[in-house]
Symmetry: C2
Subunit: 960 residues, 2 copies
Amino acid sequence: MPAPSRSSRRAARKPRAAAPSTRKASKKASKKASKKASKKAAKKSSRKAARTPRYVFSFEMGRADGDRTRTELLGGKGANLAEMCALGLPVPAGFTISTEVCTAFYEGGRRYPDGLRDQVARALRRVERSLGRRFGDPQNPLLLSVRSGARVSMPGMMDTVLNLGLNRETVEGLAAQAGNERFAWDSYRRFIQMYADVVLGLKADGDHEFDPLTEEVEEALRKRGLKLESELSVDELRGLVDRFERIVRERTGKAFPQDPLDQLWGSIGAVFGSWNNPRAIAYRDIHGFDHDWGTAVNVMAMVFGNLGDDSGTGVAFTRDPATGERRFYGEFLRNAQGEDVVAGTRTPQPIEEMKEAFPRCYRELVRIQKLLEEHYRDMQDLEFTIERGRLYMLQTRNGKRTGFAAVRIATDMVRERRIDREEALARVEPSALDQLLKPVFDPAQLAAARRDGRVLTRALNAGPGAATGQLVFSPEAAVEAAREGRDTILVRVETSPEDIRGMQASQGFLTQRGGMTSHAALVARQMGKVCIAGAGDLHISYSRGTVTVGGRTLRAGDWISLDGFTGEVLEGQVATRDSDVMTALFGRGRAREKARKAPGFRAFQQLMKWSDAVRTLGVRTNADQPDQCEVARAFGAEGIGLCRTEHMFFEGAKIDHVRRMILAETLEERERALADLLPLQRRDFEGIFRVMAPLPVTIRTLDPPLHEFLPHEPEQVRELARTMGLSPDVLAEKIEALREANPMLGHRGCRLGISHPEITRMQARAIFEAACNVKKRLRRTVKLEIMIPLVGTRRELELQAGVVREAAAEVFARKKTKVPFLVGTMIELPRAALTAGEIAQEAEFFSFGTNDLTQTTLGTSRDDAGSFGALYLDLGVYPHDPFQSIDRDGVGRLVRIAAEEGRAARPDLKLGICGEHGGDPRSIALCDELGLDYVSASPHRLPVARLAAARAALASRSKR
Amino acid sequence: MPAPSRSSRRAARKPRAAAPSTRKASKKASKKASKKASKKAAKKSSRKAARTPRYVFSFEMGRADGDRTRTELLGGKGANLAEMCALGLPVPAGFTISTEVCTAFYEGGRRYPDGLRDQVARALRRVERSLGRRFGDPQNPLLLSVRSGARVSMPGMMDTVLNLGLNRETVEGLAAQAGNERFAWDSYRRFIQMYADVVLGLKADGDHEFDPLTEEVEEALRKRGLKLESELSVDELRGLVDRFERIVRERTGKAFPQDPLDQLWGSIGAVFGSWNNPRAIAYRDIHGFDHDWGTAVNVMAMVFGNLGDDSGTGVAFTRDPATGERRFYGEFLRNAQGEDVVAGTRTPQPIEEMKEAFPRCYRELVRIQKLLEEHYRDMQDLEFTIERGRLYMLQTRNGKRTGFAAVRIATDMVRERRIDREEALARVEPSALDQLLKPVFDPAQLAAARRDGRVLTRALNAGPGAATGQLVFSPEAAVEAAREGRDTILVRVETSPEDIRGMQASQGFLTQRGGMTSHAALVARQMGKVCIAGAGDLHISYSRGTVTVGGRTLRAGDWISLDGFTGEVLEGQVATRDSDVMTALFGRGRAREKARKAPGFRAFQQLMKWSDAVRTLGVRTNADQPDQCEVARAFGAEGIGLCRTEHMFFEGAKIDHVRRMILAETLEERERALADLLPLQRRDFEGIFRVMAPLPVTIRTLDPPLHEFLPHEPEQVRELARTMGLSPDVLAEKIEALREANPMLGHRGCRLGISHPEITRMQARAIFEAACNVKKRLRRTVKLEIMIPLVGTRRELELQAGVVREAAAEVFARKKTKVPFLVGTMIELPRAALTAGEIAQEAEFFSFGTNDLTQTTLGTSRDDAGSFGALYLDLGVYPHDPFQSIDRDGVGRLVRIAAEEGRAARPDLKLGICGEHGGDPRSIALCDELGLDYVSASPHRLPVARLAAARAALASRSKR
């Protein structure tokens, strides 16, 4: 689950529903308002009504101009309101101004289309008739809410105005109606505040924390030493309203509008205007929504849940949004408004208790929720208000749900014959599956920790799951602790390949630097570890063994917990447990048996089966250890798409030989070190091949710059110097000489193999010998695919392929057997993509290394993107993090060029992708579109990849 | 002049001409040989002769089958030999086997086409008749040379065999003929050695320094304590021949061939085989020559210049190849072979002295050289041999010449009405002009230094010219020395922008690391300084103030000289002086007047004038200082294509403000530092605009990573901490926090301006204010082009362009005037090129930053390419250094995409190139082809760019 964006957090602070109802009003104001409205209407309707299109769609219980199919015209909220009315559900009357008006408004230079005012006036009269109240009537005023509603939900992006229709006269009517003067004046006070903010644009300026009206409220509270606005008296509220009106006059040069129709048009204009506020524009850029869609405006009669104990408000779901269980689920609050449910100042009651509190309303609500789920064929999220014993439905929409619930609801609904399998696949976002595999926190302990303020910081949720352990600052300490059976969280400024053993030994990693595709993040996702990356506010001191964050200092050995779902770092221990899916696949004994019967696991298995039946893309894994291979096969891997040989180099004695090889002065010395490495590499490959045979295994020859294998801490350098019989100074100089200005663009990849063919030769021999050995022992073998990294020209591949083929011939002759193999290349440089037709002459397969291809195409090092990456997403420079989802226009275009020109040169060229994007649904859809043969993802991303591939196949099938 | 490649150095060690003539021979052997040949010929000719095409082209004085137009068929050497024969010049008879045979040889699986043997036999008979000798005749043997000859010269790439036709019998005949037994046996000895190497493939193996036959010679010399092979006696030579024959039998399993026809066909096969030896393949890859061209084989009768004092040999040019002066120029040696002229064991005499030594031959030679130059309409390089008083022409070809000579000869020949202006432009390689601008060493002193073994090492000739000065190891020392009026050479491991003042103060730079486009190289070419880069065998110790190279240790203050033409580093002082062109353009007083009349300068001016009349590409300069601008205008700049604002940041007090800006903790601190910088930047721009107005000036906003501006040496950090009132530790930490893993791909370019719009705003204000001020004062103004670097998306440009336009509006309003300006972008990331259609919506011009575009497209950091760059060129991975000439297939394709799609989106989009490639002729041709508007080059490259642009225009005109 991604960390909520700033905008959605902002949204959570906005009121959700609510509306006051009124009784009395002054006839004078009412007359004035309605006269004005009807005069205008009469003038225009006679001339235009027949000729102008319909812009305004009325709805009231039992009838509606629109329906749920018209979301493009009415927006999601408006269409669903219309639908509920047509179903005969109790919805406060209202009308929707269509998105076409928004479009026309912007196209016409912020002018409304002709005929709109007439249509609004007529719709307003209909609402008045339906409610038996009149807009602006001092005795019996109709109050309205005005809300935006685009065709897709853009939570908190646009503006809302409530309690519209109140003025100096109608407020008295409302007081009489409600029998509550304080309520009426507080409603008016809040209306002015909201209107001043949204419509009049009175914002905080200069040194002020709040906008000028909120400043006044704060000042009033301060004077009286109060904390809550609800403690202000009627007189104080009247005083505030006086001051508000004065400030509005001073700031805007005009009086606060007293005419309700002026208020209405002001609010409508503000909602349309909010479609193009900068944060809405950025939001659409990020989500790829069209700026031309426009928003609708929903105008609805206010109903109030806070008129006494016979009133209330609530939110409900037709199934459990956390588990997916089929039961009516929700909360309500007596005598409250929607925002009270959200604000958390009072604790809501479970929905079942409504049975006693509002028995008639509860029965009706249960009937309605069944009807709506049946009708929409999906779990619904409902908002309702009870005003004086009468139930009003304010909203229905498809409910948000956890990954667990998404999978279960989708498969259950297939069983219930509400939807078919394809629909089920379409309903589950692939990323939802991630949750099903991760350890989870004990929910009660997590809630307690949050409540107790133990959240230290929040950063990038780079590796999902829950982890708790004792703080360690070095890989060695993690290994040591693991030996003693202690769980650890490894905290580093950033991680590097040398840390790999410590990373394996710890439960999770927390880094100060690096983004979603930093080394720590990549390793975490490949190992299935929890990782929170780029926590810039950490201050780590390795020497003191402390980390300081948010004013608190933790020491090595202190407990810390990482919520990889949300990116939260928590102080202290929070208990975790394996998910049902993980227990069912990898657990033991009774726990396993129990998990295999759990509805969550069965739903997961079902969905995977359907996915595999539908998808056309193959799914491989990125793995370089036998245990990773076993996990991958359990998750459905059809081969290895990327085996990074260098990861093996860090284990056990190997690293010493690797360092000897790198620091060798002569070819002979290097050959000796390589000779020592060969049997160890061979054993590694044998382990992998035994698990994977007879599936294909793609092995990449040595890729990273040699510098990465060398020690950098002075102590380690001294240690290595001792074992190599060198002076530490000489060794340090040698290490320094290998340092590069831009190692990403330096002496690495096939450049190493070309300057030192003996390294490639050793690796090729180890691979072929291992495959021959496994073939002899198991009587089956892997299909080898030897992959040359960082190729930019055909000639480089030619040189390295020569070395590989020579080694194959030599080993096969010696072993008197053969194994099938292909030689191909990574396409990870723009030049490789641009000359793919040439390179395909030599390559038997391409594997798109989109991590590096993204770095070079965008000219952005993923290690260094931290300093501007977040800003770039905020400013809409990239619609998504290009290291998470392939940048379609740049990198995607290169992949397309390479796929097309490669296939043109060699029609049977095998095409795959092995970058981190191979596990990203959006990128998988692109791979499907480009006709790639397979995607390769880390073991734990395979379920996501399988589902995403299925959805991509369905999407492209439906396009055809 | 570039450093000679390994291959051309190898070529220089090969014999150039020469051939023995013989008199007597044994009838038996002759009969046997001719019988065998005629039998074969008879058998085949009857069946095939009529049907087979002509493969063999005979030539002898007065008649020839071929002519000089047929270089594709006969190769350059063969065509010119035929031409000379047709002109009636004295050429030893011979024949050329055409390149078609080579092609057929490889296509037919190394088999000769039918009919070839017949044609060779017939041609051989014709040579025998012409010479009155017979091939293999023991009494009067004909000896032959066999040489390769492709359509273009590939010096030293392929093989040659001389003295062919010698065996145990004919050697005696040769001895009698020449009256010199030693000469005959030495010829035979050398023939066996050459044949064993070239044809039989006896190479050095394992621990041996030489091939086995040369080992024998060395052994023989060692035994007798001799140094020269010419000191060996006849008996010793006979003994050597015996041992040679034994070794050949042991190594090859066969006797050394005694049949001259076998020798001939063996040699022909070896020459054809050498077409595809690895170094020839690599050579063609590098020069872009087609592998299908094939080589011809030239078989010619041997003539000998070493038969006594009535014989001799020589090389001559029809004009002075160093200066271009119109005078017959050359050298000869009496009683010598061609290889003696080359070996330098004897000092040749000037050609004029031939007048006395060989009066008749000299007169004939003078006549011939005039005739040949007239005929070929170009300066000729001639080889000749005098055998017993008779002159033979062995070769003519267009002569190699210095840049000085190339310009003078081309313009002189137009004046002499031999060629037209276009031909003159086509004749001068643009890079030749480089030489005309550089300081030159005093020729005598340079020769002496080389003779005295003062060459310390040779590395990349990154900045041409000659420089001499005292060694300094720090920029500060260079500045200090300059203040005292001392010349210095700055020696650094590598240079960085902080060193810029020291670089300006010194005469030349020598670096241990970095390639042709390293910082040192770029700055050198922009400043016109001498630079030798990437001298890996330097050992520099800053602390001791020493540099050790080739066993010698120099200290600070020692004299050192850099030959930037050849890449040689010389110990001690070698006097330099300005070239005529530089003196004429920038000198003072009488020296200037004299230089302006010098033929070299006048030829240069003439050529530039013709270039400007022809070219369609505009030519701008990369400059960021008023003095550079003045130089650029003198060299014909039509504007500035790239003004790097950051170069200015290092001067004077500016760097302090820059550092304060970078290290600011708050926006206010940063704004204060920027406010201090603004007037200083404005003054810089005013200086530039005053020189450049009314031409266009393209200014790039801040580009490099901020880290580059910060000090790194502990002492400097302490100093800065003091001035900033910070603790050195805190400052060091701040500096460290700005360090990036891959700065090239990090927080730089527009990413800086987007995260800190206040920097862009300050720069834009400084630019516009400066332009307005200059406009008011001079009543003319530059056409501003503000260029945003490292853009990858349209949105980035949009954001930065907004800041620039806002600053413009603000300044124009304040100054009550306006200046014309465009806002555009660098295209230096693959993504920018791939989305150029989008970006062009926002950009008013594109400037291709091909340095960075090459780095990202190829995934190669130019700073780190040193470790594999040379190897890559050797292995033919890239045909040229992609940082020197645009990589056509990769980078070039991106430029094409961007140009086409950018222009499609905005037809009036201005397109230029500002990478270092803007001064490279091959890249300029590509720019012309792609329809760019201009190229931009460093001031000293402008003449090259103007000529290259003219040649490109002519080439594309001729294609149309």
